[in-house]
């Protein structure tokens, strides 16, 4: 399992070349037609009003491309949306105006966060982590651009998803990505991707039972 970053880039690699090719073909066709059929002395306009058979073939071709894209999307989404039966780690992520807090239930570790400052999120590399995401007030969204992934944090709803951070040593930012009021821009967290050993050492250094520090 390559994680969301890999899945996103692979799927993008299918869609973007097709989109660019279609754009180039249509733009060239348009450019050719405008130059070839521009008004010049002696030109008369064609009176032909349809080519049903050609148009039908064309429609089937467009439909085939669309169907291919839908199939590739469904396959990718099955992998991205799948939840591991036994993830290596569970983290409860909670958004509220305007901070992130993270709770590691099995380890009893609480990162309550502070207003106007990014909360730290420590994760082990290469392991499947299940996030249980919710909100205490308005809708927020948990977004890690490095992982090419986001999910909405909705009050009274828990959204579960798995992430894998492939490489240790990565320091990257996460953001709220659903507009949530005047503190929205600064509602951030910092992701620290540790080796599994370094993560275990970090866990053992933390105060337990979720008491706020």
């Amino acid at each position: 399992m390559g994680g969301t970053r890999h899945e996103f880039r692979a799927l993008w690699g299918v869609y973007l070349p097709i989109a660019v090719t279609v754009f180039v073909i249509v733009a060239l066709a348009l450019g050719f037609v405008v130059v070839r059929f521009r008004d010049r002395p002696g030109r008369t306009a064609s009176t032909r009003t349809g080519a049903p058979r050609a148009e039908l073939v064309y429609v089937l071709a467009v439909a085939a491309i669309a169907a291919t894209l839908v199939i590739v999307t469904f396959r990718t989404e099955s992998r991205v949306d799948a939840l591991a039966a036994s993830p290596a780690l569970r983290i409860s992520a909670t958004g509220s105006d305007w901070r992130w807090s993270f709770y590691y239930p099995a380890q009893g570790i609480d990162e309550p966060g502070r207003d106007q400052a990014p909360t730290d999120l420590y994760v082990p590399a290469g392991q499947t982590i299940e996030f249980d995401l919710t909100s205490l007030d308005v809708i927020h969204a948990f977004y890690v651009p490095y992982e090419d992934y986001q999910r909405a944090a909705i009050p009274k709803v828990i959204n579960r998803f798995d992430l894998v951070f492939p490489k240790p040593g990565v320091e990257t930012s996460g953001y709220c990505n659903e507009f949530c009021g005047i503190g929205h821009t600064e509602m951030r967290f910092e992701v620290h991707v540790l080796t599994p050993t370094a993560f275990a050492a970090w866990v053992s250094r933390q105060p337990r039972s979720g008491a706020p520090r």
């Binding site: 969301t4 899945e7 996103f8 799927l11 993008w12 869609y15 973007l16 989109a19 279609v22 754009f23 249509v26 066709a29 348009l30 037609v33 405008v34 059929f37 008004d39 008369t44 306009a45 064609s46 009176t47 032909r48 009003t49 349809g50 080519a51 049903p52 148009e55 064309y58 429609v59 467009v62 669309a66 894209l69 839908v70 999307t73 469904f74 989404e77 991205v80 949306d81 308005v138 809708i139 969204a141 977004y143 651009p145 090419d148 992934y149 986001q150 999910r151 909405a152 909705i154 009050p155 009274k156 709803v157 930012s173 953001y175 990505n177 659903e178 507009f179 009021g181 929205h184 821009t185």
Partner: protein
């Protein structure tokens, strides 16, 4: 009724307020909508100034939130939607050969509802806490009273409700005209291409606009009494209601301008629209799909059937593909006059394609998981609505201005307007694809200096300035053309459809007499029959029957 309307017209101010001529209602709607376009554009310039550097601090976070909320709300509720409908209010009665719109006083009521909606929404700026600042979507719970206190938010809700109700009323008059006021001989398959697009637009309005009006009423009850969206799933219920309006409305802001482009492409190529029936079928397919794609705005909520909405959204490529095929095939084989309307129509085809193709990307949930709510989405819908719809709108403005006013717009100023606006639009919106793909979030008043997005944002800000210049060129063009008029005559472009069969501007009841309607292009039928007679062969209008 008609005599009353005529006598009221002579009463000056009362005439301005109460004139029920559809042409007068439409002209006033467009003038008011253009004023809101300027106002919303000024807000856009302020947004772009704020984002010129990572932390410019031109305005604070609360003022910035009001800026993007009012920019989006103004452009959608108060500019593009009313302009799209007004185009139909003006042209549909003419194109179907009617003396009057169906329900003229109802239509006038719609206009005043829209105007009062706009004024109510903007009067939020006169309140202590400022106007609505919960985004143009006003998601619950952000828009409820604990999170958006202040009467400005209520003004926003009532403004949206009134303006949307007004547009709904005006659109129902346009639909009634198409259904009940068509000239003898004008079957549904002889409607002008633009009237076809208005027909489907009005169907979408009638299905989706009442849902928004009700959603706004519920939002107001939630703010003042609670109990609507409080339960589990309440916020998602609001989003389902909102987007059930919010996606069809994207096509309401699009299809009338597709219709304008189809007319311009056809008339300025000197030939009938190629593939008229597939074109009409594709419009109906779009209309049917428009009510089944709304939750592609909600892929990241985890609360909707992503696959279903990915399937329906991607399926839109098929009817869109038909429209491109027919428009390009109309150009091919034509005698293309590259006047200003055609330039705008061609740019529409190229630029909207960028908006449409990136829309296919956004219709894939795993791709949306990354770029949702980033500037990639901003770039996508500005390519669709600004570089697409607005360019189609200007194609229509340059095409029909002679009909509405009786005078031609200046060609050289029109070309200048076109090239400056094309440069500005692409300079503003293309860089947003890149910084959005790299993770720049929408609705933020600053961005990290370390992200390296300043150059891209500077290009966007410079582009916004260029767009502003192009709008000034347009205003100068209109002012100069009206002050020193070049008379247009009834039919300056060799038009195809019935609006060109009367004087410019048309008289109060539109027509002195109508030509026979045997195809979607009755005036072209007459011209071809005359040519055939003068050549001396083929006395029957064969093409009319082939197309009809």
């Amino acid at each position: 009724m008609s005599t009353a309307a005529v006598s009221i017209r002579s009463l000056g101010l009362v005439g301005v307020i109460g004139a029920t001529d559809h042409k007068s209602i439409a002209r006033r709607t467009v003038v008011v909508a253009f004023a809101f376009f300027i106002a919303g554009g000024i807000l856009a310039l302020l947004i772009r100034t704020q984002l010129a550097t990572p932390s410019t601090g031109l305005v604070g976070a609360d003022a910035f939130d009001a800026l993007f909320t009012m920019h989006g709300s103004t452009m959608i509720y108060l500019f593009l939607v009313p302009t799209a409908i007004a185009l139909g209010v003006y042209l549909v009665p003419l194109q179907v050969g009617a003396a009057e719109i169906a329900g003229p006083r109802l239509c006038l009521t719609g206009f005043w509802l829209y105007v009062s909606g706009g004024l109510v929404m903007w009067s939020g700026y006169l309140t202590v806490d400022g106007p609505g600042a919960a985004g143009w979507t006003a998601f619950d719970p952000l828009s409820d009273s604990p999170h958006s206190p202040g009467v400005g938010m209520d003004f926003w809700i009532f403004g949206v409700m009134l303006a949307t109700l007004g547009c709904l009323v005006m659109a129902s008059c346009v639909l009634g005209t198409i259904v009940a006021r068509r000239a003898p001989g004008m079957t549904l398959l002889r409607l002008a291409p633009f009237t076809w697009t208005m027909l489907v637009t009005c169907l979408m309005v009638i299905v989706s606009f009442p849902v928004l009006v009700i959603a706004m009423a519920l939002l107001w009850i939630q703010r003042d009494f609670g109990g609507i969206f409080d339960s589990t799933g309440g916020p998602i219920a609001y989003q389902n209601l909102f987007w059930f309006y919010g996606h069809p409305v994207v096509y309401v802001m699009f299809f009338p301008f597709v219709g304008a482009v189809a007319e311009v492409v056809s008339v300025h190529s000197g030939r009938r629209l190629f593939g008229y029936r597939p074109f009409a079928i594709s419009l109906l397919a779009f209309t049917a799909l428009s009510t089944s794609v709304w939750a592609h705005h909600m892929f990241t909520t985890g609360q909707v059937a992503n696959r279903y909405f990915a399937l329906t959204s991607t399926a839109l490529a098929v009817p869109a593909g038909i429209e491109y095929f027919d428009l390009i095939a109309t150009l091919a084989g034509g005698r293309i006059r590259l006047r200003t309307p055609m330039l705008f129509a061609l740019a529409f085809l190229v630029q909207f394609l960028i908006g449409g193709l990136t829309g296919i990307l956004l219709g894939s949930p795993p791709l949306d998981y990354d770029v949702h709510n980033t500037y990639f989405v901003i770039a996508h819908f500005h390519y669709a609505l600004f570089a697409g719809s607005l360019f189609g709108c200007f194609a229509g403005v340059y095409h029909w201005f002679p009909k509405v006013t009786g005078v031609m717009l200046r060609e050289r100023l029109g070309r200048l307007h076109f090239w400056v606006m094309t440069l500005g639009a692409n300079l503003t919106f293309f860089p947003m694809f890149i910084d959005g793909w790299e993770g720049m979030r929408r609705r933020t008043d600053s961005y990290p200096a370390s992200a390296g997005w300043q150059t891209l944002n500077d290009l966007s800000t410079a582009g916004a300035g260029v767009i502003a210049i192009s709008v000034v060129v347009f205003v100068v063009n209109v002012a100069r053309s009206l002050r020193d008029p070049e008379p247009a005559g009834p039919d300056p472009w060799d038009g195809h459809t019935l609006e060109w069969a009367t004087s410019s501007p048309p008289p109060r009841h539109n027509f002195a007499g109508l030509p026979p309607v045997r195809s979607p292009a009755p005036l072209l039928d007459l011209r071809e029959a005359a040519t055939a007679r003068s050549v001396g062969d083929s006395p029957t209008p064969i093409h009319a029957e082939a197309a009809g």
